[in-house]
C-alpha cells in the first residue's frame, strides 16, 4: 500500500514541473468556475426550504428532495406553478421556428449560392445588416406595427405564440441564410450540373443532391435556431402577458420575482430548461462549432 503511494507521489513529483503546475492550476480554475454554477443550479433544485434559507450555504443537499419539482408539476401543491404548460409553450415556439427557419433558409441560401440574379449582393448585404440592429430598437416599431396590423386583420399581438415565432424567424433567418449559403458554396457545382443534365429540375436537384450533402449544415442551422427560440427573453417578455401563454424564461422570471423568494423552485425550473440545451449541445457538438463562430448566438 505505502509503496504504491510513495511511487505515486514520486511519479507526481517527476511529472510536475512548474509549467505543468501552472497549466493544471489554470485548467482547474477554469473548469471549476465554469462548472460550479451548473452544479449549484442542479443541487439547489433538490434542497428543502430550510436548506435554502438557512444561516449558512448548504453545498450538498441532505437528501434529494423533490419539493421544488412538486411545486412546479404537482397540481395538489399549494403553490402549484403548472410549469408543464410553460414547457409546452416553449416547444410550441421553438420547434416551428427551427423547422420554418431551416426550410426558408435552404431555399434562400440555395438561390444566393447557385443562381444568378440581379441585386443578389445588395440583398445579402442588407440581410446581414441585421447584425447591427439591437433587439430593443426593433421591438418598439414591431410592437406598434403588429398591434396596428393585428387590429386591422383581427389577431392579437399579445399572447400570440405565432407572432413570437414570426419575430424569432426574423432574428434567426439572416444568420441561418449566411451559414447555409457558405455551406452550399463548398459543394462542387459539377455534381448539380450532372443532375441537371440528367434531366432533373432545379427543385429535384436541390431535394435529391444538394440537401443530402448539406445535412451537417442543416443540423447546425436547426439547432442554432431552436436554441435561440428556446432561450429568448426580451420579445417573449414584451409580447406575452397571460400566464397560460408564458414560455419558460418568462415563467422563471415571474417565479424569481415572486414576493416570497424560493430559489430552489427557480433553480428547479432553470435546471429543466438548461438540461435539454446542454444535452443537445453535447450530442451535436461537432455540427455546432462552425455555427457558433460563424453566426454567434448573436449575443
Amino acid at each position: 500500500m505505502s509503496d504504491s503511494k510513495k511511487s505515486f507521489i514520486g511519479h507526481l513529483a517527476d511529472w510536475l514541473t512548474w509549467r505543468r503546475f501552472i497549466f493544471s492550476a489554470t485548467l482547474i480554475f477554469f473548469l471549476s468556475s465554469i462548472l460550479f454554477p451548473f452544479y449549484w443550479m442542479v443541487s439547489s433544485s433538490f434542497k428543502s426550504k430550510a436548506e435554502i434559507g438557512g444561516r449558512t450555504a448548504v453545498y450538498v443537499p441532505s437528501t434529494l428532495r423533490l419539493d421544488a419539482y412538486k411545486e412546479l408539476f404537482d397540481p395538489n401543491n399549494p403553490s402549484y406553478q403548472d410549469f408543464g404548460r410553460n414547457i409546452i409553450n416553449t416547444i410550441k415556439v421553438s420547434v416551428p421556428t427551427a423547422v420554418i427557419a431551416v426550410f426558408l433558409s435552404v431555399l434562400g441560401a440555395y438561390a444566393i449560392a447557385r443562381l444568378n440574379f440581379r441585386g443578389k449582393e445588395a440583398l445579402l448585404n442588407s440581410i446581414l445588416l441585421v447584425y447591427l440592429f439591437p433587439g430593443v430598437l426593433l421591438i418598439i416599431p414591431l410592437f406598434a406595427m403588429l398591434a396596428r396590423i393585428g387590429d386591422a386583420i383581427g389577431f392579437n399581438v399579445q399572447d400570440n405564440l405565432g407572432v413570437l415565432i414570426l419575430t424569432y424567424l426574423a432574428q434567426t433567418l439572416p444568420v441561418a441564410l449566411y451559414m447555409l449559403t457558405n455551406y452550399f458554396r463548398t459543394i462542387p457545382d459539377e455534381i448539380e450540373q450532372a443532375g441537371l443534365i440528367d434531366g432533373c429540375t432545379r427543385l429535384e436537384v436541390i431535394w435529391r443532391i444538394t440537401l443530402p450533402l448539406a445535412i451537417p449544415a442543416l443540423v447546425s442551422v436547426s439547432i442554432y435556431t431552436f436554441m435561440i427560440a428556446w432561450n429568448e427573453f426580451l420579445y417573449a417578455l414584451v409580447f406575452l402577458n397571460d400566464h397560460n401563454m408564458f414560455t419558460m424564461p418568462i415563467k422563471i422570471n415571474t417565479i424569481f420575482n415572486d414576493p416570497s423568494p424560493r430559489p430552489n423552485v427557480v433553480m428547479a425550473a432553470s435546471t429543466i430548461m438548461t438540461i435539454p440545451i446542454i444535452a443537445l449541445f453535447l450530442a451535436m457538438e461537432r455540427f455546432l462549432e462552425e455555427g457558433l463562430t460563424a453566426g454567434g448566438v448573436k449575443g
Partner: protein, 315 residues
C-alpha cells in the same frame, strides 16, 4: 462538358431568365420576413422617435403627431440618461464603460482559454465542450444561478464563503451596491461570452504554421518572446474582428443586465433604459429616441474603428 453546354445553348436565354425567376421565388419568403420584420421596423423606428407615440394612440400609430426633437430632448434631460458626476454616470456613460470593459475582459479570458486548449492533453475534447457551456446555456437560468450565488442572504455562496473566511461580519447585497454591481455584471458578461472569443482564437491558433515557432526556438526565443512576436501578430486580425463583434453585441445587450440587476444600482445601460421608457412608461417615442441614440453611438464607433484600427491591422 463541351457537348453538354452546346446542347443547352439554344435554350440558354430562357434558362437564364427561368433561373432568375426561380431565384426570386426561392428567396422571397425570407426576404419578406426580414424586410417586413427588420428593415422596415428599423426605418419605422426612426419615424417613431420623432412622433408622440404612446399606449393611447397605439391603435392609430401612423397618425401620431409629429413633435420634432422633443423625444430626444426629453431623453437628454432625463436623470437616468445624463452624466451627473462620478456618483451617477447615467445610461450613456454606463453603457460605454460596460461594453468596453466587458469586451476587453471577455477577450483576455477567451485568449487564456484558447491558449490552454491549444496544448494537447488527455480529455481536451470534453474540456473544450465544457468550456462552451456558459455560452450555450439559457441566459435566464445562468443569470438566476449567479444571482443566487451572490444572494444577499447568509445562504448565498459568496456571503457564506467570505463569512467563513472572516472577511466580512454580515452578509452583503452585492448586486445592490452601486459600483460593485456594475463590476459583477461585467464579470458575468466575461464569464458567459469568453467561449465565443475562445473558439475564434483557437481556430486561428491551430492554423499558425508550426515552423515559425521552431525557427524562433532555434534562434533562442523564450515562451514570452514567442507569444509576443509570433502568436499575437498571427491572431491580430481575428482579435480585431472579435472585438468589433462583441462590442457591438454587448452594447446592444438587454437580457443579461436586466436579469442580473433589473438595471438598478448604477447598471442602467441604454437598452434597459429603452425598455423602461417603452414598456414601463409606455412612451414609445422616447424609447425609440433612446434606441436611436444607442445606434448612433454604435455607428460612430464602428466607422471610427473600421477606418483606423482595421486599416492598421491590414497594413
Amino acid at each position: 462538358m463541351d457537348t453538354s453546354s452546346s446542347a443547352v445553348t439554344p435554350k440558354w436565354g430562357t434558362l437564364r431568365t427561368r433561373e432568375a425567376r426561380l431565384a426570386w421565388l426561392l428567396i422571397t419568403p425570407t426576404a419578406v420576413i426580414v424586410f417586413g420584420l427588420i428593415i422596415f421596423p428599423a426605418i419605422f423606428s426612426v419615424w417613431v422617435s420623432f412622433h408622440d407615440v404612446g399606449l393611447h394612440n397605439l391603435n392609430d400609430v401612423f397618425h401620431a403627431p409629429y413633435i420634432g426633437f422633443e423625444n430626444y430632448i426629453k431623453v437628454f434631460k432625463d436623470y437616468a440618461f445624463k452624466f451627473q458626476g462620478m456618483q451617477s454616470w447615467g445610461a450613456a456613460v454606463t453603457s460605454v464603460v460596460y461594453a468596453f470593459t466587458s469586451t476587453i475582459l471577455t477577450m483576455i479570458i477567451g485568449l487564456m482559454a484558447a491558449i490552454l486548449l491549444n496544448h494537447p492533453f488527455r480529455g481536451r475534447g470534453l474540456t473544450r465542450a465544457v468550456f462552451l457551456f456558459p455560452y450555450v446555456a439559457p441566459v435566464v437560468s445562468i443569470a438566476f444561478v449567479w444571482r443566487w450565488i451572490l444572494d444577499p442572504r447568509p445562504s448565498g455562496v459568496l456571503n457564506d464563503l467570505l463569512m467563513r473566511l472572516n472577511m466580512i461580519d454580515l452578509p452583503k447585497a452585492y448586486l445592490a451596491t452601486r459600483g460593485l454591481a456594475l463590476v459583477l455584471v461585467i464579470i458575468f458578461q466575461a464569464w458567459r461570452y469568453f467561449p465565443f472569443a475562445m473558439l475564434m482564437i483557437l481556430a486561428r491558433l491551430q492554423a499558425i504554421d508550426r515552423t515559425l515557432y521552431e525557427a524562433a526556438e532555434v534562434d533562442g526565443a523564450n515562451t514570452t518572446q514567442k507569444f509576443w512576436n509570433i502568436t499575437i501578430p498571427e491572431i491580430r486580425y481575428v482579435l480585431g474582428a472579435i472585438f468589433l463583434l462583441r462590442l457591438m453585441w454587448t452594447f446592444n445587450k438587454f437580457d443579461d443586465v436586466f436579469l442580473m440587476t433589473g438595471g438598478g444600482f448604477g447598471t442602467k445601460v441604454l437598452p434597459v433604459l429603452t425598455y423602461e421608457f417603452s414598456f414601463r412608461l409606455f412612451d414609445f417615442g422616447r424609447g425609440a429616441a433612446t434606441a436611436m441614440i444607442l445606434l448612433l453611438i454604435l455607428v460612430i464607433f464602428m466607422v471610427f474603428y473600421v477606418r483606423t484600427v482595421m486599416r492598421n491591422v491590414e497594413e
